[in-house]
C-alpha cells in the first residue's frame, strides 16, 4: 500500500498505537486523515513534515502536533500541555481549550485555540502567530521573541514578562503586565496586521480596533550604561 494514495483515511487509536498512527502520518506526502478515539493520548501528530490535513476527533493529550511543519492539524476537542510546541509552519487548530504552554517556542505557522488557553501560552514564541478565541492564563508570552499573540478574551497575570519583540493584542482585561511589558499605541499598521491575522484564523467578524496592544519597553535586553559597574 502506497501511503501517497491514502486520502480521507481513518486512523483509529482503539486499534492502532500512537506510534503506528504517527508513522503513517509521517510517511504521507499529501492527503487527509482522521484520527479517531484519541482519548487524551500524548504526542499525537507530532513532527509532521508535509502539507497533509489531519483531523483529530476528540481530546488530545500532551504535545499534540508538536514541531509541526506544513501540515494542517485540527483537534475537535481539547488539547493537553504543549500544543503545537515548536511549530515551524502550517496550522494547528483546537476547537476547545488548550492546556499550558500552547505554541511554546514556535518558530512559524499559525496556532488557533477557539476556547481558552491556560498558563504560559506562547512562552518563548519565536515567530509563530497564535490566536486565542477565549482567554489566556498567567505568564503568557513569557520571553516572547517574535510573532503575534492575539487574545479575544482576557489575559492572566504577568502577560509578556521579559518580552523581546513579539506583538501582543488583547481584547479583554489584562490582569497584569510582566516585567518590561507595556501597553503601546495601536497604530494603523498594527490594526492592519491584526486584521489580517484574525481573517487568517477564521475570525472575520471580530473588530481589530477593539484590541489593545502590548509589547516590550526594551529596558531589559538592551545594555544600559548606568549598569556598567554591576558587571
Amino acid at each position: 500500500m502506497s501511503v501517497k494514495t491514502l486520502s480521507n483515511t481513518a486512523l483509529d487509536l482503539s486499534t492502532l498505537s500512537v506510534r503506528e498512527v504517527n508513522r503513517i502520518l509521517h510517511a504521507a506526502e499529501d492527503g487527509a486523515f482522521t484520527v479517531l478515539h484519541p482519548n487524551g493520548a500524548h504526542a499525537l501528530a507530532c513532527g509532521l513534515n508535509a502539507p497533509i490535513d489531519v483531523s483529530i476527533q476528540g481530546h488530545a493529550g500532551y504535545y499534540c502536533a508538536g514541531m509541526n511543519k506544513a501540515a494542517s492539524v485540527t483537534i475537535d476537542g481539547t488539547a493537553g500541555t504543549g500544543l503545537a510546541e515548536n511549530i515551524m509552519s502550517g496550522t494547528v487548530r483546537v476547537t476547545g481549550d488548550a492546556s499550558q504552554s500552547a505554541g511554546a517556542s514556535g518558530h512559524g505557522g499559525l496556532v488557533v485555540i477557539e476556547g481558552d488557553a491556560s498558563a504560559r501560552c506562547g512562552i518563548s514564541m519565536k515567530g509563530v502567530d497564535i490566536v486565542v478565541g477565549g482567554s489566556v492564563g498567567h505568564m503568557s508570552a513569557f520571553m516572547a521573541q517574535s510573532g503575534i499573540l492575539a487574545v479575544l478574551g482576557d489575559a492572566g497575570e504577568a502577560l509578556g514578562d521579559s518580552i523581546y519583540e513579539a506583538h501582543l493584542y488583547v481584547r479583554g482585561k489584562v490582569a497584569g503586565l510582566g516585567a518590561d511589558c507595556v501597553e503601546k499605541e495601536m497604530r494603523p499598521e498594527h490594526i492592519a496586521e491584526l486584521r489580517a491575522l484574525l481573517d487568517r484564523a477564521g475570525y472575520p467578524d471580530v473588530d481589530a480596533t477593539t484590541f489593545r496592544r502590548y509589547g516590550s519597553a526594551r529596558t531589559l535586553y538592551h545594555f544600559h550604561v548606568d549598569n556598567v559597574g554591576t558587571y
Binding site: 482519548n39 493529550g61 493537553g80 500541555t81 491556560s118 498558563a119 505568564m139
Partner: protein, 298 residues
C-alpha cells in the same frame, strides 16, 4: 511527577462501579508514578469507627494488637487482615484508638480512621497494588488514588499516598512542599501526630487540624493556600466531600470533568477518558489558587 485521580459520584447509579472505574483511572496514571500507589474509597458510613492499619514487618500479630487496644479502650475490637494491612473496627472512639496505636504499637502505621474511609497502599506497580486490595470490587460514593514517583522522602509503603491524619479526611499530592518541616513542628505542638517524614502527610495533617477546629473543607483549603509553600495539585476527600486545588502558579497538571453522574479529576485526561458518559462531560483545567469542591449534605 506522580499521578492523581479522583472520582466523586453525584448519583447512586454508579456506586457499585466506583472501585472498578477508579482502578481504570489509576491504571492510566501508572507511567506517572511507578514507585508505589494507594487509594482511599469512601463507602457507606458505619456505626462504629473503622481504622486501616499497615505493618511493614512480617511478624505483626494483629490479634494481639486488637486485644491490647480492646483492653486499653474498654470497647470491643474486630480486626481483619488483608495482605500487610488490617481493617480494625471498634465501638470505641476512633481518634483515641489511632492515638493509642501510634503510641503503643510502633510496628503498625495507622493509614486511616473514620466511619466511611478505607485506605490502602503499597510499593511497586500500581495495578498490582489495586489488585492486592481489590480496588475494582469496592463500592462507595467517592475515591481518590495516587501513583507515586518519590522526590521528598523514601519509597516506602507508609510514604505512599493517600495520607490521612483526621477522621474520614485524606489527601493525595502531586508536587513538593518546601515549608513542611516548620509546619510539622507547629502542628505537632498543637497535638497532630505524624507517622512519616513525608511533606504530603503534613498537608493532610494541616487540613485535618483546621477542620477539627471547625473549618469547612473549603475554608481549610483556603487557609492552606496561604500557609503551604511549594508546588502542589491536591485532591482531597472528606466523608461528604471532594475538593481539588492547585498552587498559585499551577506547577503541576490537573484536568477536571463533570457530568450529571460524576465529577472526576486527574493529572491527565487519558484517565478521565475511561469514564462512562465522558463524551458528554464538561472538561476544564482547574485554575491556579481556585478551590473546586463538591459535597453532599450529611
Amino acid at each position: 511527577m506522580c499521578g492523581i485521580v479522583g472520582l466523586y459520584l453525584k448519583s447512586e447509579n454508579l456506586s457499585d462501579d466506583l472501585g472498578r472505574l477508579t482502578a481504570l483511572m489509576l491504571h492510566e496514571m501508572r507511567g506517572r508514578g511507578p514507585d508505589s500507589a494507594g487509594f482511599a474509597v469512601y463507602g457507606t458510613p458505619e456505626k462504629g469507627s473503622k481504622l486501616v492499619l499497615l505493618s511493614e514487618t512480617d511478624s505483626v500479630d494483629w490479634t494481639s494488637i486488637g486485644k491490647r487496644l480492646e483492653a486499653a479502650q474498654g470497647a470491643s475490637v474486630e480486626i481483619a487482615p488483608i495482605a500487610n494491612h488490617a481493617v480494625l473496627r471498634t465501638e470505641g472512639d476512633g481518634q483515641a484508638a489511632r492515638d493509642w496505636l501510634i503510641a503503643n504499637a510502633p510496628e503498625v502505621t495507622v493509614l486511616s480512621v473514620g466511619q466511611s474511609i478505607e485506605l490502602f497502599k503499597g510499593i511497586g506497580d500500581p495495578d498490582l497494588v489495586a489488585e492486592r486490595f481489590d480496588l475494582a470490587g469496592r463500592s462507595g460514593t467517592h475515591a481518590i488514588a495516587h501513583t507515586r514517583m518519590a522526590t521528598e522522602s523514601a519509597v516506602t509503603t507508609a510514604g505512599s499516598h493517600p495520607f490521612s491524619t483526621g477522621a474520614d479526611t485524606c489527601l493525595v499530592h502531586n508536587g513538593s512542599l518546601s515549608n513542611h518541616n516548620g509546619l510539622r513542628r507547629r502542628l505537632e505542638k498543637s497535638g497532630e501526630r505524624f507517622q512519616t517524614e513525608n511533606d504530603s502527610e503534613v498537608a493532610a495533617g494541616y487540613l485535618a487540624a483546621r477542620m477539627r477546629m471547625g473549618d469547612t473543607l473549603s475554608e481549610a483549603v483556603e487557609a492552606a493556600l496561604k500557609d503551604l509553600d511549594g508546588f502542589y495539585t491536591f485532591a482531597i476527600g472528606t466523608a461528604q466531600g471532594f475538593a481539588v486545588v492547585r498552587d498559585p502558579i499551577a506547577c503541576k497538571p490537573a484536568v477536571m470533568a463533570e457530568t450529571d453522574d460524576w465529577v472526576a479529576m486527574s493529572s491527565e485526561f487519558r484517565a478521565i477518558a475511561k469514564l462512562p458518559g465522558v463524551e458528554h462531560a464538561r472538561i476544564w483545567e482547574p485554575k491556579p489558587s481556585e478551590i473546586y469542591s463538591w459535597s453532599r449534605s450529611a
